[in-house]
Each structure stands twice: as structure tokens, then as C-alpha cells.
């Protein structure tokens, strides 16, 4: 019952998104959409997915889109080219897909083909084979570890891509200027700054809890990384980019991102060298269960490092780019003013 209400609301929001011209409103609606779809995931028992979607879909992606909109402009100029042909294509595709669903198993039926194959083995045997209660973590980090390795490499590559596209060479700033900016921000954001000072240690601690509690409840490296990065982003927003850059060494965190991927890969290599298959953690310790625990902990650590650092890098680069554009604009204006005054 819950799913029907939530899904209907999702469709309403999606239709509203089509009609909106104001990109800011679109992003706000996208935030609501992310929160709503995460509630849907909770209702569908996918607690781990809801965890990730809450942090990513509602938090980080809204945030990045807002930063970009503040750089590129808020209005969508209405040029809908060929809406009718687009509508035609969409209608045909949708009709064919709906025709295809008629053969699909009904929602929630226990004898659907998807519940055959490997799923019963994961549910029945993972406790003996892996020894941790959260089946999602044991599938993610042990049964399908190779798959997850690929995903981590994709995230790392995306981080490098953003770095290549957006990175700005920063001149060393004089501390006085930073102090002036800091003071002006202090006046404007006093209340949030104090609240954030209380919250940030809590968020970081909570991220560590999520990282190491992932074996027993919803959580794990992906979620922990995103939460950790969110705390750093909060700090950056309130205390200024220059201060955050001094706190978090840029070349160091790039090293950490690479180390995360390397750690993940080297666990696989270690299992190969000790005579097992790639990512077969049984051989890591004398006891297979202890080996599995060790392997999963190491891999989650690698994932957490990479995800956290890549998201921090992405945000820092966007924010630095924005700052550079603003500075350029200011200089341009100053020059203009000078010219006009000299005339």
C-alpha cells in the first residue's frame, strides 16, 4: 500500500520537473524526489540502498547541482525543439515496454525467477560461509568482490576526470586576506558556525560507526565515505575554501584516494599469492571465517577511503572553480571601473 502512494507522488514530482523553467526549483524538487525514493527503498526492505540514496541522492547530488547552477545561471530559456517527435518516440517506447511487462512476474511474488539462482544460497549459507549477519555486505564485499572492485575503480576514474577538467592552479594566498574573509563570514554565519562545530565531530564519529557497523546493520564503506565527505563539505561551506584547504592537504588526500583503490586490489593479490582465488578471503587467516572478516574489513576500508576522498575532491574542485570565476568577474569589473573613472 505504501509503495503505491510513494510511487504516485514520484510521478507527480517528475511531471512537475518537466514543466518547471526555474532550474533552482528543479533542483529542489530533485532533492524531494531523492528523499521520497529513499523512503520507497525503506518500504521495500532495502535498508542499505536507502542509506546510500539518502546520503547521495538527497544530499550530495543536490549540492553539486546547486553549485553548478550558481555558476551557469538559473533560467532555462525555453527552446523545446521538436517536442512532438520526442513525445512520439517516448510514447512508442513506453508502449512497447508496457507490453513487455505483461509477462513479468507480479510484484512481491516469492516464486519469481529472480528469487531462484543464487539468492537462496546467499540467504541460507552466507552465515556459515562468511559469518556476518548483513547479507548485503557479505555479497558486496565477498561473493561479488570483483564486481565491487570495478565500481570503486569507476568512482576513482570519475574523480580523476573531474580533477582533469576543473582543477585550477591556485596562487598562494596571503593569510591576511584569508583572515578578512574569515571574519566577514564569521559575522554572517555565526549561529550555523557554532551549531556546525557541535555537529561536525558527531558526523565524523557517526561515519566511523557506519563504516565498522556495516557487518551487523545497514552501512559499509560506500555510505560511510559519503557521510564523511558530507561533514568535510559542511566545514568547507561555513569556514571558507582556503581554510579547508589548509586543514586538508590536497596532495595528501589524492594519495589517500589512490591508496584506497590500491588497498582493495592488494587484498585480492594477497589472496592470489596465498594460494586462493582472486578475492577468496578464506586463505587470509587460519580460520576461514576469521579470514573473511579480515578481508571484508580491509576492503570496506579501501572503499570508504576512496569514496570519501573522491567526493571531497569533486566538491573542492567545483567550489574552487566557482571562486575563480567570481574573482575574475570582480577583477574585470574593477578594471572597467578604473577605465571609466580615468576617462
Amino acid at each position: 500500500m505504501i509503495n503505491i502512494v510513494i510511487l504516485t507522488l514520484l510521478v507527480v514530482i517528475a511531471i512537475a520537473i518537466i514543466r518547471m523553467k526555474d532550474l533552482f526549483a528543479v533542483v529542489m524538487l530533485l532533492g524531494i524526489y531523492g528523499l521520497l525514493s529513499a523512503s520507497f527503498f525503506v518500504a521495500m526492505d532495502a535498508v542499505d540502498v536507502a542509506f546510500t540514496e539518502a546520503a547521495v541522492g538527497a544530499g550530495i547530488s543536490t549540492l553539486l547541482m546547486l553549485v553548478v547552477i550558481s555558476m551557469t545561471g538559473r533560467r532555462e530559456i525555453t527552446t523545446r525543439h521538436k517536442p512532438f517527435s520526442a513525445l512520439f518516440v517516448v510514447a512508442i517506447t513506453g508502449f512497447l515496454l508496457i507490453y513487455g511487462t505483461l509477462d513479468m512476474p507480479y510484484f512481491g511474488s516469492a516464486d519469481a525467477p529472480i528469487h531462484g539462482h543464487v539468492a537462496p544460497r546467499y540467504i541460507n549459507d552466507s552465515m556459515q560461509e562468511i559469518g556476518i549477519p548483513n547479507i548485503v555486505t557479505s555479497v558486496l564485499a565477498s561473493y561479488r568482490a570483483f564486481d565491487t572492485f570495478g565500481e570503486v575503480v569507476v568512482i576513482f576514474t570519475a574523480g580523476i576526470g573531474v580533477l582533469a577538467l576543473l582543477s585550477v592552479v591556485r596562487r598562494p594566498e596571503d593569510p591576511e586576506q584569508i583572515a578578512v574573509i574569515n571574519d566577514s563570514m564569521h559575522e554572517r554565519h555565526l549561529v550555523i558556525r557554532i551549531i556546525a562545530k557541535i555537529l561536525i565531530p558527531f558526523i565524523l564519529l557517526f561515519a566511523l560507526y557506519v563504516q565498522f557497523h556495516g557487518d551487523f546493520g545497514p552501512g559499509g564503506g560506500f555510505q560511510a565515505g559519503v557521510i564523511f565527505a558530507a561533514a568535510i563539505i559542511l566545514y568547507t561551506m561555513l569556514f571558507g575554501l582556503s581554510t579547508a584547504r589548509r586543514v586538508i592537504n590536497q596532495s595528501l588526500i589524492r594519495l589517500v584516494a589512490a591508496t584506497g583503490v590500491l588497498l582493495y586490489g592488494s587484498v585480492g593479490l594477497a589472496t592470489l599469492l596465498s594460494g586462493g582465488n582472486f578475492f577468496d578471503y578464506n586463505v587470509l587467516a587460519n580460520d576461514p571465517i576469521a579470514g573473511q572478516h579480515l578481508g571484508i574489513a580491509l576492503i570496506e576500508l579501501g572503499v570508504g577511503c576512496t569514496v570519501a576522498v573522491v567526493i571531497i575532491i569533486i566538491f573542492f574542485n567545483f567550489a574552487a572553480r566557482r571562486e575563480m570565476q567570481l574573482n575574475n568577474k570582480k577583477q574585470h569589473q574593477d578594471k572597467k571601473n578604473k577605465e571609466s573613472s580615468s576617462c
Binding site: 503505491i4 514520484l10 518537466i18 547521495v56 553548478v68 517516448v90 577538467l165 569514496v307
Partner: protein, 132 residues
């Protein structure tokens, strides 16, 4: 049938809305939003396939017999994080496009491209004429 397939139909509706935005809207950020909608519809599809009536979250506990299918959860969990990474890459491309062209509307970008293409063509023609 209506109840049994409702989830799938909603997924298709969301997917088609995303596709429509990608095709019909010229604004690059709007296109990325459309892609995000499309992506989320796929997530919803997987997760609703994993649900078993009477099942609970796939975290083992005593006195629970029926669990939902954990495999789609794993696939989607990683896909969400990969999705944000690729979205960030797309957004950084948009930022660069804005810097170079001064606009993120597809038609303006196309016009500017056409103009530069014509200019370079005419320059080439004049050069060839000179050589001849």
C-alpha cells in the same frame, strides 16, 4: 493485475519522463536532471523486483524465515555511488562548456559551432584561391 504490475508501470512512466526531458529540452542541466530521473527509475525497478511479500530486510536475525532478495540491493547500492560520480563528471563538463561558449543552451552552442565552422571554411577557401 493492476496491483501486481503497478510498480513496473510507474517505473516505465518515470523512465519515459526522463527520456522525454533528455530529448526535448535544450538546457544541459535539465538534460542531466532527466538522466538522473531515468537512473532512479532503474533503481526503483530493481528494488521492487527484490521485494518478497512477507519478507523483511536481508539482515539475518533469529526467528525470521522470509527475507527479501539481497542481490539487487548490492547491485543498486554500488550503482548509486557510481551514478553520483558520473553525474559529477557530466556537471564538470557543463561548467567547462559554459566557460567556453557562455551558454548552456544546446541551440546557442550549435549556432556558435556552425559559425566557427563556416568561418574556418571560408578562410580555407580564400587561402586556396590565393594559392591558385
Amino acid at each position: 493485475m493492476l496491483m501486481g504490475l503497478f510498480n513496473h508501470w510507474v517505473v516505465i512512466a518515470l523512465m519515459m519522463i526522463g527520456l522525454y526531458i533528455v530529448i526535448a529540452h535544450g538546457n544541459l542541466i535539465k538534460k542531466i536532471v532527466g538522466l538522473t530521473l531515468f537512473q532512479t527509475s532503474v533503481f526503483i525497478f530493481y528494488i521492487s523486483m527484490a521485494k518478497v511479500n512477507g519478507g523483511t530486510a536481508p539482515i539475518l536475525a533469529d526467528d525470521i524465515i522470509q527475507y527479501s532478495n539481497p542481490l539487487p540491493h548490492v547491485l543498486i547500492l554500488t550503482a548509486i555511488v557510481v551514478g553520483i560520480a558520473t553525474t559529477a563528471l557530466a556537471l564538470s563538463l557543463v561548467v567547462r562548456i559554459k566557460e567556453t561558449y557562455g551558454s548552456i543552451e544546446e541551440e546557442n552552442i550549435q549556432d556558435q559551432d556552425n559559425q566557427t565552422f563556416e568561418q574556418s571554411n571560408s578562410q580555407k577557401d580564400s587561402k586556396q584561391e590565393k594559392q591558385a
